[in-house]
């Protein structure tokens, strides 16, 4: 599509048509040859025009919804390092997951970084989203923290448990309760923000908190015990990059560059974590903001990434293969949604993924 302006220079004097003007020759041109030349000129002119007509229209930048989550930060790193062009991709920075999902549902976003649960919730709204990459896997980043003394899950019966992130947090809580053979109605669940959870935990208003990093570290600093975390749910709490199939069709290359930028950023982060972290600092601070009073160090900021695993491109094959961890997780989720009649049917794996942008084996 960027060719258009360049072509717009050339159409002023279409060379093929110009040929038909017939440059004066000293010797008479063979009529047959002349005719052939003219025909070629005409065909050339027409094909030029046809090409012009066939050229793709300039695309709106691909808008990608993000929330404050460590898995998203590599996209921002990609932007900071110039891997993502503002003209192609716009990272829309949203404060709440609800806003993120809402904008996806409204069609205001072409893509979004979502948890797997959010992804399926969006699909229940009949949105045709496809997962193009898994940006992060919670591998201990989400945890159930209890007051000191409540180190066994069974002890949670009848306790007030604050849940910060309703989607991920509920998965962790359910898994923790299941592991402790507790029913959900045997605990009191409270939905709060991270700040409220922190305040209530300090004040003793809640006995346990389900949260994610960097909050988990904050609770640990307050003496909370990690009773259950996402290490017990391998490959279950995923952060995926989901793209509307419409945009996938219209701007596949943009999506490819977006995905690539992410991995390149991760790569860069691996190569120069300090440098990368400095570039990421202004955003990483946000993860800590409610309780951040002084200028934090890079190391402190990097706490955000604790318990977070970033599957590289190569890892995706294993992760997303049929029958693989993702497949198992998604099936369980879908069946749950179908059971709750939030989903009509269980979509097959291939309908959920678009693996074109993954590096070939």
């Amino acid at each position: 599509m960027r060719e258009v302006p360049e072509r717009s220079v050339s159409w002023a004097l279409p060379v093929p048509l110009g040929a038909s003007l017939g440059v004066p020759d000293a010797a008479p041109v063979c009529p047959r040859r002349r005719r052939v030349l003219r025909l070629a000129g005409v065909v050339g002119g027409l094909s030029w025009l046809g090409g012009l007509a066939g050229c793709a229209a300039p695309q709106q930048p691909l808008k990608v919804g993000t929330v404050l989550h460590p898995a998203c930060e590599f996209l921002f790193l990609g932007r900071e390092t110039g891997l993502l062009q503002a003209r192609e991709t716009r990272l829309v920075e949203l404060l709440s997951r609800a806003d993120n999902m809402r904008l996806v549902e409204e069609g205001a976003l072409d893509a979004a970084v979502l948890s797997l649960d959010e992804f399926f919730i969006c699909r229940t709204q009949r949105l045709d989203l496809r997962i193009v990459a898994v940006l992060g896997v919670s591998d201990g980043a989400d945890a159930l923290m209890t007051r000191p003394g409540l180190s066994r899950p069974e002890q949670l019966r009848g306790r007030r448990i604050a849940v910060v992130d309703p989607s991920t947090g509920m998965v962790v809580l359910e898994a923790a309760l299941a592991a402790a053979s507790l029913r959900q109605d045997e605990v009191m669940r409270v939905s709060v923000t991270a700040e409220q959870a922190l305040a209530q935990f300090r004040a003793g208003g809640v006995d346990a908190v389900v949260a994610a990093e960097p909050w988990v570290s904050q609770f640990e600093a307050l003496g909370a015990e990690r009773v259950f975390d996402s290490t017990r749910l391998p490959d279950r709490l995923l952060r995926v990059l989901a793209v509307r199939s419409q945009s996938l069709q219209a701007q596949p290359e943009t999506v490819r560059r977006l995905v690539t930028a992410h991995w390149n950023a991760v790569d860069q982060f691996q190569r120069d974590p300090q440098g990368a972290c400095r570039l990421m600092a202004p955003r990483l601070r946000l993860h800590h903001e409610p309780f951040l009073l002084q200028e934090p160090s890079i190391e402190q900021l990097a706490l955000s990434f604790r318990g977070q695993r970033l599957p590289l491109a190569a890892a995706h094959r294993a992760l997303l293969r049929p029958g693989g961890p993702f497949d198992v997780a998604q099936q369980a989720l879908q069946q749950g949604l179908v059971a709750r009649r939030q989903l009509q049917r269980v979509a097959p794996l291939q309908d959920l993924l678009d693996t074109r942008f993954l590096p070939q084996a």
Binding site: M1, V4, P5, S8, W11, L17, S20, L21, G22, V23, P24, P28, V42, G45, L46, L49, G50, L52, A53, C55, A57, P58, Q59, Q60, P61, K63, G65, L68, F76, R87, V92, E93, L94, L95, S96, D99, L103, A108, L109, P282, R283, R285, L286, E289
Partner: protein
């Protein structure tokens, strides 16, 4: 094609069109694109402003409390398509919130790209929003201030913050440009296709035919012919070009062939010519000589090629121009011009000199002057001519002599013929002039004569001076006499000139006889002569013919009879001589008891300008034309004339006329109609009268007996009383010797009869006597002599109570004046009627004299007249009294004529009252004013009595019966015709009296013309109008 010009029509035209079109499209696209961009920018500014304002409001609220709502709103807004960035900046210049979360707390100048601190300061200081556009018009930055409510523990140098919104339109502009280009490309592609088609069409329809034409013209130029014609196709101009080219080449080829053929013919003619033909150049060298020429000189053509002409001529016979070539200029140039033919001498190869006729012509071909000589050897001819000439000389002399003789004779004949023709023309002219003269004379003489008679008539009425009356009466008599003579002369002339034609109309014999008796009876009575009419019963009442001319003959006879009879009687009898299917020949005879004629005199009668005796002529007057005219007229009517006479014993003049039988013809007396079978006794001392009346009564079905005097009558009455066969009617002649009619009547009334008979007095006397007779108590009715059958029947039927009722005469109520012409009016009735009023007229005028005239005139005509001095009085009078007519002056005091008329028209009883204007104003406008006011007619002052009478006559209609009796038209018309032909001025009054009928029959326009001609005394014209109107059959 190969002229080196690059651009061919088929390429250049579509390309030029394409270029123009492409240019137009590009311009349009650019225009719409930039327009769109401007619109976009404008919209972005508006949207950005709204967005910034919204954020600013939120920021104001947020600065009072929690920022989370604002932060969330801001991030959501930042997801908008065009939004580049949103930042909320506090008074310190730090970012409070931004679409990039990481900018929070950072100095705006550090994190926001292209941040202009001065702009921020301006916005904050002025508290006014600012909009900035990037240089490429793709970005808009909007900075809107907001009130920053700072926490108490902090100190700020500014109380206002700002919201900064960047809108990025790049994508939309790119998209729009792309769309425009796409559109343009499609249009150009379509145009290109159209152009290709156009180019193809140009090629196939224009350039290819033109190329063929070009090739053909090249071929034609190279080879002089075209093998096959160029196809005529392509557009009209090209096809026309090809057609013209084909025609041109065809014509050139044809012309060339003709030229060749002509050259070949020419050569053949020259070769075959028996005359020698030599062409020499300006140096007199032989360029061409034909075989005859060469032979003439004893050579072959090849011998003489390029030889000088002088070798063929004896030197002393060289023509002048050969000796002096400069004289050859005297020959007119040009191939067709033949020079002076001359006789030249040639010399043959054997040296013989011979004579030849030579004609020279000079021509200029291809810049060379050539002279062609045509030579004919005349040696033999000269010899023969000599011999002929000698013979001719003698012959010619003789021929000339004879020719001169013949020419002389011819001239004489021609002169005679001319004289004859002239004489014939003169004769014809004279004849034609005579005819014209006659036609003119008739009119020219009669009209003034009519005027003289008419004026005299009027003058007679207008004076009481006895002496003047006497003069006028003499003038009238003389005029009538003169008119009669002139009529005779003109009639005779007309007959002589064959200009008299007879009418063929239905007419009644009875009417003709009535007219006759009316004219003759006065004079007969004046001389004491008895007038007797006898019509045979089988005479049809209606016939077809010319009643006027028939009457004329009859009257002529009657006048003669009266003229030449001193005492006795005049009897007119009509009988049928021959009856055919379509014609009837009637015989009319007028018998008198006059002086009679000798056989010699009889022989001279009926000749033009002859009278029986010149002495009689002096004694009785007359032109001697009457009988001649009668003979001619009778002849025209298919009849004859004759006379039976013996000197001293009276004469009987007769004539026959062959008349057509009318379809409605019936015998005058139809016995079947009668219902009365009464016994009638006729008492008359005159045998003829007695016989006629008796026969008439018999014919009508009565039992009639006749006696010759009063005594005999009394006897017969007494005897009849005894035999119980009494007479119901006695017809008494008034004048009888011994006992006259009145005396007899008294005696009869004194007789002791069972039933008194009706007594009818028959008299030929004037009104005074009639009135006296009628006033006699004994008399039941008076009949005027001569009695005609229908009159007699009507009278008797009326008296006996079985005929048409006495009221039958009521139809005559419209007849205002005594009209002796009317056959059914008895004088007594007429006289009675004269004594009664004819109607009541109101004359309105402020001038007493005028009123007097009108009153006198109208009373004289039998009207009652009331007068009024002005319109108001008139209005009162018409309210009280019923009038038949109002004569209305126009200008009067109190109320003028127009106003009075309008007022009268409003009264119901006056709606149909005739109102006639009397005025001195004779302008057409006045007439129009009168008619518009509701008046019916118009009289100009001074009042002409005749005109007044006519107008009054035409408007005063007794209320009982307004409709004119069409049935009386034949009678009226006949009478009018008669009066007109006689030039009798009475016709004016008479026609006026009959105006309603005349108007009805002739129609308004013709009736007016008729009246007008009468006023001018142009009776001929009036007669013509009457004839044109044609006869009206009796209903």
């Amino acid at each position: 094609m190969r002229t080196g010009r690059v651009f061919t029509l088929q390429v250049a035209l579509p390309l030029a069109l394409m270029a123009v079109l492409a240019l137009a499209l590009v311009m349009a696209t650019l225009d719409s694109f930039y327009r769109f961009q401007a619109d976009l920018l404008r919209e972005a500014r508006r949207d950005g402003m709204a967005l910034a304002s919204e954020i600013a409001r939120s920021a104001e609220r947020a600065s009072l409390g929690t920022q989370s709502t604002l932060a969330s709103d801001l991030t959501l807004e930042a997801a908008g398509d065009n939004v580049g960035l949103i930042a909320v900046i506090d008074p310190d210049g730090s970012v409070v919130l931004a679409s990039r979360l990481a900018w929070r707390g950072e100095p705006a100048a550090k994190v926001i790209p292209d941040f202009d601190d001065a702009l921020l300061q301006r916005v904050v200081a002025r508290y006014a929003r600012e909009v900035q556009e990037s240089a490429d018009s793709r970005r808009v930055r909007i900075v809107v201030p907001y009130d920053y409510h700072s926490p108490e523990d902090r100190v700020h140098n500014l109380a206002q913050g700002a919201v900064l919104v960047d809108l990025d339109l790049t994508h939309q502009i790119e998209a729009s440009r792309h769309e425009s280009l796409l559109h343009l490309a499609r249009q150009i592609a379509m145009s290109a296709v159209v152009m290709l088609v156009l180019a193809w069409l140009m090629r196939s329809r224009v350039t290819r035919p033109l190329a063929r034409l070009e090739q053909a013209s090249l071929d034609f130029a190279a080879h002089g012919e075209v093998l096959e014609p160029v196809p005529v196709d392509g557009p009209r101009e090209v096809a026309e070009l090809a057609r013209n080219f084909n025609e041109m080449t065809a014509r050139i080829q044809q012309a060339r062939q003709e030229l060749q053929a002509s050259a070949a013919r020419h050569t053949a003619v020259v070769e075959a010519a028996t005359d020698g033909i030599i062409t020499v150049d300006d140096a007199f060298r032989i360029r061409m000589i034909n075989p005859a020429g060469a032979k003439m000189f004893g050579y072959t053509p090849s011998d003489l090629a390029a030889r000088p002409l002088s070798e063929l001529l004896p030197e002393n016979h060289w023509p002048l121009h050969l000796r002096h070539p400069e004289h050859a200029d005297g020959l007119e140039p040009g191939p067709a011009v033949v020079g002076v033919p001359s006789l030249v001498r040639g010399v043959r190869s054997d040296g013989e000199v011979f004579a030849a006729d030579a004609s020279f012509s000079r021509m200029r071909t291809q810049g060379e002057d050539l002279v062609t000589v045509i030579l004919r050897d005349v040696t033999q001819r000269q010899r023969a001519e000599q011999a002929y000439r000698e013979l001719n000389d003698s012959l010619e002399l003789r021929v000339l002599q004879r020719t001169a003789d013949l020419a002389q004779a011819n001239e004489r004949l021609k002169a005679q013929e001319g004289e004859l023709r002239e004489a014939k023309e003169r004769a014809e002219d004279a004849s034609r002039m005579k005819g014209d003269f006659l036609a003119n004379m008739s009119h020219e003489i009669r009209t003034p004569m009519n005027a003289i008679v008419g004026m005299t008539h009027l003058a007679l009425r207008g004076t009481q001076d006895a002496r003047l009356l006497d003069y006028l009466q003499k003038i009238q008599q003389s005029s009538r006499h003169l008119l009669g003579i002139i009529d005779d002369i003109l009639d005779f002339s007309k007959i002589e000139a064959d200009k008299l034609s007879l009418e063929l109309i239905d007419f009644s014999i009875a009417t003709v006889l009535d007219n006759f008796s009316n004219l003759i009876s006065d004079r007969a009575q004046a001389k004491g002569l008895e007038l007797i009419l006898e019509v045979a019963p089988d005479v049809p009442d209606f016939v077809v013919g010319d009643p006027l001319r028939l009457g004329q003959v009859l009257i002529n006879y009657g006048n003669n009879a009266v003229k030449f009879t001193a005492q006795g009687e005049i009897q007119v009898s009509v009988s049928v001589q021959q009856l055919q299917a379509e014609h009837v020949t009637l015989r009319f005879a007028v018998r008198d008891t006059g002086i009679g004629l000798s056989p010699e005199q009889v022989g001279q009668l009926f000749q033009s300008f002859q009278q029986a005796d010149t002495s009689t002529s002096r004694r009785y007057g007359g032109t001697g034309l009457g009988l001649a005219i009668a003979r001619k007229l009778a002849g025209l009517m298919g009849g004859e004339v004759g006379v039976i006479s013996r000197q001293g014993e009276g004469s009987t003049f007769w004539f026959t006329a062959r008349l057509g039988r009318s379809l409605g013809a019936r015998p005058m007396l139809k016995p079947g109609l009668r219902k009365v079978e009464a016994r009638v006794l006729v008492v008359d001392d005159n045998a003829s009268a007695r016989q006629v009346l008796t026969e008439m009564l018999h014919g009508l079905g009565f039992q009639a007996e006749a006696v010759d005097g009063g005594a005999a009558a009394l006897e017969v009455l007494e005897r009849a009383e005894q035999q119980a066969t009494p007479f119901e009617v006695l017809m008494l002649d008034l004048r009888m010797p011994g006992m006259d009619g009145l005396e007899l009547a008294r005696r009869v009334r004194q007789m002791p009869l069972l039933r008194q008979p009706m007594l009818v007095l028959v008299t030929g006397l004037g009104p005074d006597e009639v009135m006296a007779a009628e006033s006699a108590a004994e008399i039941d009715a008076v009949l005027l002599k001569p009695v005609n059958p229908s009159q007699l029947l009507d009278r008797l039927q009326t008296m006996l109570g079985s005929g048409p009722s006495a009221g039958a005469a009521d139809g005559l109520g419209a007849e205002p004046a005594p009209t002796p012409a009317d056959p059914s009016v008895t004088p007594a009735q007429v006289l009675r009627r004269a004594g009664t009023t004819r109607g009541r007229i109101l004359a309105v005028d402020d001038n007493e004299v005028n009123l007097q005239i009108a009153r006198e005139l109208l009373r004289g005509q039998g009207f009652e007249v009331d007068v009024a001095q002005d319109g108001q009085q008139a209005l009162e009078l018409v309210g009280r009294q019923t009038y038949h007519l109002v004569l209305m002056d126009m200008q009067m005091p109190v109320m003028d004529g127009l106003a009075a008329t309008r007022a009268m028209r409003l009264l119901p009883r006056c709606a149909r009252l005739p109102i006639v204007a009397m005025t001195a104003n004779a302008m057409e406008k006045d007439r129009q004013d009168c008619l518009q006011a509701g008046m019916n007619d118009f009289l100009t002052k001074p009042i002409d009595p005749a005109r007044l009478a006519a107008v009054v006559q035409s408007w005063v209609v007794p209320t009982s019966d307004q409709a004119a009796d069409l049935g009386s038209w034949p009678v009226v018309a006949a009478r009018l015709r008669q009066l007109l032909s006689e030039g009798d001025p009475d016709v004016i009054d008479w026609a006026a009296a009959q105006e309603p009928l005349v108007r009805q029959v002739l129609g308004g326009a013709v009736a007016e013309a008729f009246k007008d001609s009468l006023r001018r005394f142009d009776f001929d014209e009036a007669l013509g109008l009457l004839q044109d109107a044609g006869p009206r059959p009796v209903p």
